[in-house]
């Protein structure tokens, strides 16, 4: 398979999950594990351009696929607009769900970079965050959407309120 544009290979037991292959064989530890039932979304990566949960796939199922992880999102010093949005709008606290959130948000915005707040919220239902109440995650994604549309993001709430 290719991961973040690099061809990778490895021999694994059939039972090796894609997330374990990414973390342990490739050492890309930005993809996290928060549950074992496919509910938390911390392991979200892109496979062939769609967002998937890498805990819910065997590594062997991804043979030949193109995988992108959080480590592939920034281009050197240039952050992906979603990464920038999370930083600018305080879209993260402990950071554990953040890579999955960013991958999911990037996928959503690739489908539609002018999503409504409601669509963003429902698009994130497979990604659990226990710190932020999602409030600033939504703001971060709206910031990124504006950037991707070439527009100036709305000012932060703390810039407009006392």
């Amino acid at each position: 398979m290719s991961v973040n544009g690099q061809s990778v290979s490895g021999d694994v037991e059939p039972r090796t999950l894609l997330v374990h292959f990414i973390r342990e064989n490739l050492g890309l530890t930005g993809t996290h594990i928060g549950c074992e039932t496919g509910y938390c979304g911390a392991c979200t990566v892109h496979m062939n351009g769609t967002s998937i949960k890498s805990c819910s796939m065997l590594a062997v199922q991804a043979d030949g696929a193109e995988i992108s992880t959080i480590e592939g999102m920034a281009d050197g010093d240039n952050l992906h607009p979603v990464q920038e949005g999370f930083w600018e709008r305080h879209g993260l606290q402990c950071g554990y769900c953040t890579p999955g959130m960013i991958m999911q948000a990037a996928y959503l915005l690739e489908q539609d970079n002018a999503m409504s707040e409601d669509d963003i919220r429902h698009g994130l239902e497979g990604n659990l965050c226990r710190c932020t109440g999602y409030h600033n995650i939504v703001k971060a994604i709206e910031y990124a959407g504006a950037k991707m549309r070439g527009e100036e993001p709305a000012p932060a709430e703390w810039e407009t309120s006392a």
């Binding site: 059939p14 039972r15 374990h20 594990i33 979304g41 065997l58 199922q61 698009g123 239902e125 497979g126």
Partner: protein, 285 residues
């Protein structure tokens, strides 16, 4: 969270998969894996062999075949939810698919996988019954067709024999209109159905000429609500007729309590959603 060890075969064709399935007792077919892998990770289920059909070409399509629409074994929930063909001819199924799991699950999980898994609280199973779907079942020995309302046998049990694969789901282009509505376990439309109902109706001469209604979440399987169908057939589809049909939502169905509701509550919800699904379908028909 590590599954027990198993043997893995990546099938190159459906025939290969069927042969492997025939030759290996206890082998399980892996498509999207949204249900199978979760059970394997929790070690609730540990098949000795997994046959991966995910790489087989041509199974992931939704096609217009003239008098019916064909949903391939690998077509995902997202494909079903967003397919203009499904939205036009089987809107209930598109709605049910759009409320299945979450975005990532809908990107990987398959409609046929949901049918084969036969969860008691799946959404698309009820919709498949309502839209009159036919399951095209393949085995090494040949092929057979099973009507959706006969396909779901019990909790997590479909009509599939151990050596069979659900290769395709066919939906007749029967006109009329369909709708699905539910209460999800997390509330609203989110997560598996506490209870849900799908309805398809076709009008003729101002009355309900044909109908199928199915409920999910309330018993062991998605089930045709025969009493409701009987009540709505031939009626004017007005509020009274809908109420009468809703009242019979669980007729002949053994309603079971679970973590998400008592028998009374589930029976009540079945009526609510039969009513809502019928209202929506009749309004569109």
């Amino acid at each position: 969270m590590y599954p027990r060890p198993f043997e893995y075969i990546k099938a190159a064709s459906l025939d290969d998969a069927l042969a492997a399935l025939n030759d290996n007792e206890g082998a399980k077919v892996l498509a999207g894996g949204m249900s199978l892998l979760q059970m394997m990770k929790l070690r609730l289920f540990s098949p000795p062999m997994v046959i991966d059909i995910g790489g087989i070409d041509g199974l992931g399509e939704i096609n217009d075949n003239g008098d019916h629409i064909s949903i391939g074994a690998l077509a995902t929930h997202n494909q079903v939810a967003t397919s203009p063909l499904i939205q036009e001819h089987a809107e209930a199924l598109a709605q049910a698919a759009s409320w299945t799991g979450d975005v990532q699950v809908r990107n990987r999980g398959t409609c046929c996988g949901v049918m084969a898994h036969a969860d008691t609280a799946a959404d698309q199973t009820a919709a498949a019954i309502a839209v009159g779907a036919t399951m095209v079942v393949r085995s090494a020995g040949g092929s057979r067709e099973v009507a959706a309302h006969d396909f779901f046998v019990d909790a997590l049990t479909s009509a599939l024999e151990p050596n069979e694969i659900l290769a395709e789901l066919r939906i007749p282009k029967a006109g009329g209109a369909s709708s699905y509505d539910k209460l999800g376990r997390r509330g609203g439309h989110s997560d598996y159905a506490v209870a849900g109902a799908a309805a398809w109706v076709s009008k003729s001469n101002g009355s309900i000429g044909d109908a199928r209604i199915a409920v999910t979440g309330v018993g062991t399987k998605a089930t045709l609500a025969a009493g409701s169908v009987e009540a709505i057939l031939g009626s004017d589809g007005g509020a009274d007729a809908i109420a009468a049909a809703a009242d019979r939502a669980t007729e002949g169905i053994t309603v079971l309590e679970d973590l998400y509701g008592s028998e009374d509550y589930k029976a009540h919800l079945a009526k609510v959603f039969v009513r809502r699904a019928l209202e929506q379908a009749i309004a569109k028909a």
